[in-house]
């Protein structure tokens, strides 16, 4: 295991910024297609909200944003130094 980077090291896939961009573009495209499917295919549903256009898409997106932002706020209350318990444990 070497922590220092060797010079003239092999270039890996995500070392090239255009590959990262390409991956992101694929993700955006898939999301767009999945969102548009709702306008074409009628999902049969059990619950009223499910029938809303883009329900799962919006719910997934909002859920994750809320999750992360709430967790970030939680840090203010819950976060302690790494050796918090070691000091007098």
């Amino acid at each position: 295991m070497r922590r220092k980077k060797r010079t003239r090291e092999r270039q890996y896939f995500f070392d090239k910024p255009q590959n990262v961009k390409r991956a992101l573009r694929v993700l955006y495209a898939i999301c767009a297609v999945l969102f548009l499917i709702d306008f074409v295919y009628h999902r049969h549903v059990e619950h009223g909200w499910e029938a809303l256009w883009g329900f799962y898409a919006v719910y997934g997106f909002v859920a994750c944003v809320v999750l992360v932002l709430a967790a970030k706020e939680m840090r203010k209350v819950l976060m302690r130094k790494e050796d918090y318990y070691d000091m007098d444990d």
Binding site: V62, A63, C64, L69, A70, A71, M74
Partner: protein, 565 residues
Amino acid sequence: MIWTTELPPFAPFFVGALLAWITRGRLRQTIMLLVPAAGGLHLLGVEPGVYWQLSFLDYTLTPYRVDRLSLLFGYLFHIAAFLGVLFALHVRDTLQQVAALLYAGSALGAVFAGDLISLFIFWELVAVTSAFLIWARRTDKSLRAGFRYLIIQVLSGVVLLSGILIHYHESGSLAFVYLGLDGLASWLIFLAFGIKCAFPLLHNWLVDAYPEATPTGTVFLSGFTTKLAVYALARGFPGTELLVYIGAIMTCFPIFYAVIENDLRRVLAYSMINQLGFMVCGIGIGTALAVNGAVAHAFNDVIFKGLLFMSMGAVLQMTGRINGTDLGGLYKTMPITTGFCIVGACSISAFPLFSGFVSKSLVMAAVLQEGYHGVWLALLFASAGVFHHAGIKIPFFAFFAHDSGIRTKEPPLNMLFAMGIAAALCVFNGSYPWFLYDLLPSTVNYTPYDATHVIAQLQLLFFSALAFTWLKLSGLYPPELRSVNLDVEWIYRKLAPGAGAMLSAIGHPVDSRIRRAATRRVQDFIKVLWRHHGPHGVLARSWPTGSMVLWVAVLLAVYLIVYYA
């Protein structure tokens, strides 16, 4: 070898543990692989029934009972033991190898226990044997975490035993069948199961201890203890409505912790509680579909969570690091491990064609069918969240993210094989769920792969990924930080010791006054004694030496006479 159907599944594991203890090298490796492989194949031929019953004092014990539910967990524990042994095959530490086999054997014993006393015995054996997998890390931290773990696990056993004794007193029966929540006895048993199942507020032992075990030990730990609790709940308390809400809370609260946790194995431990929540919820609903979903999800979870713990174990073993802050860019030198980790991540996130999809769907469908709409929304939130922290965070921060500069290599072949088999099982169960469905306690009339369902799930997951991407690119995503986050353990690791110290500070002056008064009493008493027994006291007058010599001579004379008479 005489191996009849009467031989309970735990026996080969205990014999194997003994053999592993006295052998070394290739021979030990062969024995260790053979035990779960042969045991599992043998179990395939075992039919439901009662195979071993005995009377002990006034009790009728049934240490070996087989039905469809215990068979499913029996197969599962053999698979988990085999994968764990294969993953740890290179380990030369006798303590770990022996403990692992004993642990797996004890869990199997508990699953096939037909009465509550046998269940209790194996319940405690599971606790004790598994603690050694934590201590085997041989660090100060793991020693302490192991003790905290053991205390809580043994406590669960003690609560279980008190519940069992009251239950026996009330009902006169020790059979481990449906119990239901009524009366003190069943509440105690419920609580004992709840501790092992990591119910909210009782969960902290899991996230405290599992990440402190050895790289291979955590893989074993993730397979048995909590799934045993799920089995016990599924047998004793199906349809208990309280479980629906407990399960819903379990799916939601750990994911917040998982987002801000730095130790990636601790992230997985939190996500484990989240997955247990789905199972607990299913058991709480209690319909055939829901219980099927719960146990099917337990089955798949052991394999995909095992796979994720294996990939993180491999990272820890090869780099010596496990914190998100220290890792990144490992895909360059560990591409195969990266691939397996992603398969595990897809499975836990319930991507179509991966195992989590076909089992979690059963629970979700049951929740919706029974009209628990709030719970359904909570589970949906948790489904998006689990993809976020386990599906994306784990592979991303370990293998991609910023390049940590660490250059390592793939783990040993046995580790890769174990991960490979687990990954194959994840894909197989996900793409061809009917094999697993046929093993479930009741018949399944559910098709996971219809267009509606697949589209809905893909929308949920891809937009979760989109949210992650957006948060990451916009800089809103909280960075990985070296830290600990307060959890319930704060009460017994900080508050209680602190309160103890405070009490002694307040109590010290009072205490010393009481002591002084007591000392004075004792001194007075000694003075009285001194007066009567002291050198000048009546009772302590010394005798002349001559009289003593005389008495010794008399004694000798008596001795001589007795000897020759």
